[in-house]
Amino acid sequence: MKKILYSQKFAPYIFICPFVITVLLFWLGPIFNGVLLSFQDVLKDEWVGLHNYNRMLTDKIFFKAVFNSVRYMIGTLVLLIPFPLLFATLLNSALMKKANLFKSIYFLPALTSVVVAGTVFRLMFGESDRALMNQVIGLFGLEPIKWLRNDLTAYFAMLLLCCWRWTGVNILYFLAGIQSIPTELYEAAEVDGATKWQQFWSITIPLVKPTTIYVLTISIYAGLSMFLESFMLWKGNNSPNNIGLTIVGYLYRQGIEKRAMGYACAVGIVLLLFVMIVNLIQLKLTGTFDKEDR
């Protein structure tokens, strides 16, 4: 026993054992089962071959859900990477006063429950002219908008909720990245006469790249698998004309609400493959794999 524990060969495997078991049990197992179920009609308990996948190909609502998810994911990437990076740089700057206060304020939304926040946002984006957002645009002389009933305004609402909630978290990631950059680099740059902007562009951005890749990776995944925000904004899984329907929302609708568990599994498998492919391409392009090989 002692021999195995102390052996250079086996010890590492023992250490990663809990993690591997977790992955097998709670990740690969369900995926495998999901693949099997995706070829079945669970309610009738029959094997249906590729029927579920064929159905998906002609299912407009499914494509609408994919479109919504992808659009949302892109929106979050555009907003939730550059801005938190910029804010983190500002917070890190010596000129910034009360940096800790701002850090806390930005981080606070992440501590709230999406259920509560989503409900509050739903009320803020209400249709009546007394709803908060309509009062705000009313100050500029605009007519009340049915925020959650129009495609683009609903997209805006979802993105706003997402930014409100996740900006602080991403700031923390970037802050950690920035603070690990040696200050000598900045001092040297200053001696050479680089402006603050040049320093940011040529030192900060390249050196926080690992953090950026990490944030990018989880944002892609989180964006594509968003569900609860939309579920709360529309008080259920049904938004007008499905403007808020996401892939996971569609999976939920089919599997839980309509009890078409087999079809829901097929949707889940497609989502899995989709996320994997997008993430792998992105990791490849950002050169994450090359580094490991060196």
Binding site: V115, I218, L271, N279
Partner: protein
């Protein structure tokens, strides 16, 4: 190479683990997705009766004596709990040898149905008795072997005194699986104060044409809205379709949502909207938290709703006390297939695999269908009970102490008695396809037509295709 694959696997796993830890995502890859997150009732399916705060809660009856059978009950309307326990106590008094003890768990609307569905699917953890909402009911009777108990025998003693169309909506192939709570007769609620000011006498509104003309006149006189075109519910749409003798399915149960009668009904509503007789209320239907204030402050004057809307008036539209008249709904003409229909509803079902199923069925039939129980349905909940013996009992229906009698300025049951012999329903509501049809109307079709100005026929054709794809016909 090996290292590459390993690192790939690990990093993907890491990402999955980390992100799911963030709580921003549902486990998409998990086949048996976990129970729903806590959330308010679904909008599109008639969230009837579910409006009140109905968070989780457990109530246990206290029953003395031996030989007491414990029955687990799942509900999604907290009001039902008190009602059930009161009635179960009466049962125990009358049946000392068959005493029951109800253990009631109240869950949020979606939660309860999803949990029940999973429990029945997996064969574990189901209660003895469950309240199932009408919009969800067909999905529980769609299976090859239905897991709900056939209640035909338990219903038999009460069958003659209740509105049979309300039993039919919870039936399949001639067997009854649910016990109704109320009729949900669709009626018209008129704000008489506003209508009088605009010179409109609601009692002269007999047909939809009268309704339309009154709406146009009202809009011209006041600039405010008369009634709403629905975008998130189908109370009025279903009513008008039933009056025309139409349905969403053919007689042999095939999808037919784009048939001529559906087009006619939607066109009629669209014409009313274009003429100014209808607006669109925020929230898309009268039974909605966003809509209540707009009725309460008089921006909309009329509601075509099932009878249980009474309870919303007393709870959420309190400023309207003494200003609302309840009247029969307009019709197209004397040759209509039916005058009104029942809307929404909760069917109490017994889980067939329960060891006490037979007793549970007898108790619940007593609790929900006996005349004593139906008196309480009116007194406490303000609904129109399925046992029509209650409808003619003036001591109850015109009891001056009753909050509903006090609220409305017409005797609340008069219009019900007027329409009593012509309360129909749409057959498609019992079909397994109903939830999907409802879903597509309340999320796409009605919004696109009444807010987006889409072409009615095209919209319905697209919906028909989508439904065929979904239901595989």
């Amino acid at each position: 190479m090996k290292k590459k694959i390993l690192s790939l696997l690990l990093s993907t796993a890491m990402v999955a683990a980390l992100v799911s830890g963030c709580g921003s995502s549902a486990p998409a890859t998990d086949a048996a997705a976990p129970a729903a997150d806590a959330a308010p009732a679904e909008e599109a399916a008639p969230a009837e009766e579910a409006a009140g705060p109905s968070a989780g809660g457990k109530t246990e009856m206290e029953v003395e004596g031996d030989n007491v059978t414990t029955l687990n009950v799942w509900t999604f309307i907290e009001l039902h709990q008190a009602f059930y326990t009161d009635m179960a106590e009466r049962w125990n008094e009358e049946h000392p040898d068959q005493k029951v003890k109800l253990v009631l768990s109240n869950m949020q609307y979606d939660d309860m149905h999803n949990k029940l569905s999973l429990a029945l699917e997996s064969g574990e953890g189901a209660p003895d008795i469950a309240d199932i909402e009408l919009g969800k009911f067909p999905s529980f009777t769609a299976e090859k072997d239905i897991k709900l108990m056939d209640l035909t025998d338990a219903i038999a003693p009460y069958k003659d005194s209740v509105v049979n169309s309300r039993l039919d909506i919870y039936s399949k192939d001639g067997k009854y699986y649910g016990l109704p709570t109320h009729v949900g007769t669709t009626v018209a609620f008129y704000n008489t104060e506003l209508l009088d000011a605009a010179g409109i006498d609601y009692t002269t509104i007999k047909t939809w044409d009268d309704f339309k003309n009154a709406g146009i006149k009202y809009k011209e006189a006041t600039g405010a809205e008369f009634a709403t075109a629905e975008t998130t519910a189908m109370w009025m749409v279903n009513l008008m379709l039933a009056q025309k003798g139409g349905d969403y399915l053919t007689a042999d149960g095939k999808l037919d949502v784009n048939n001529a009668k559906v087009v006619e009904v939607l066109q009629y509503i669209k014409d009313m909207q274009d003429a100014g007789a209808l607006g669109v209320v925020p929230g898309g239907q009268p039974d909605n938290e966003e809509a209540y204030p707009h009725y309460n402050n008089g921006e909309f004057a009329v509601q075509i709703m099932p009878y249980w809307q009474t309870s919303r008036f007393t709870a959420y539209m309190t400023d309207l006390k003494g200003k609302i008249a309840i009247a029969p709904v307009p019709k197209f003409g004397d040759s209509d297939a039916t005058w009104t229909i029942g809307g929404g509803g909760t069917g109490t079902a017994i889980i067939a695999s329960s060891p006490n199923a037979q007793l549970a069925a007898d108790v619940m039939a007593y609790i929900k269908l006996s005349s004593g129980a139906n008196e309480e349905v009116w007194n406490v909940l303000g609904f129109d009970p399925v046992n029509t013996e209650v409808w003619t009992n003036k001591d109850l229906t015109e009891n001056p102490d009753n909050q509903f009698v006090q609220f409305f300025n017409t005797p609340p049951f008069n219009c019900l008695l007027e329409m009593q012999d012509s309360i129909g329903s749409l057959h498609s509501l019992q079909d397994a396809k109903a939830p999907s049809i409802n879903n597509i109307f309340c999320t796409q079709i009605l919004t696109n037509i009444f807010e987006g100005g889409a072409d009615i026929q095209e919209e319905l054709n697209a919906a028909q295709d989508q439904l065929i794809n979904e239901l595989g016909e």
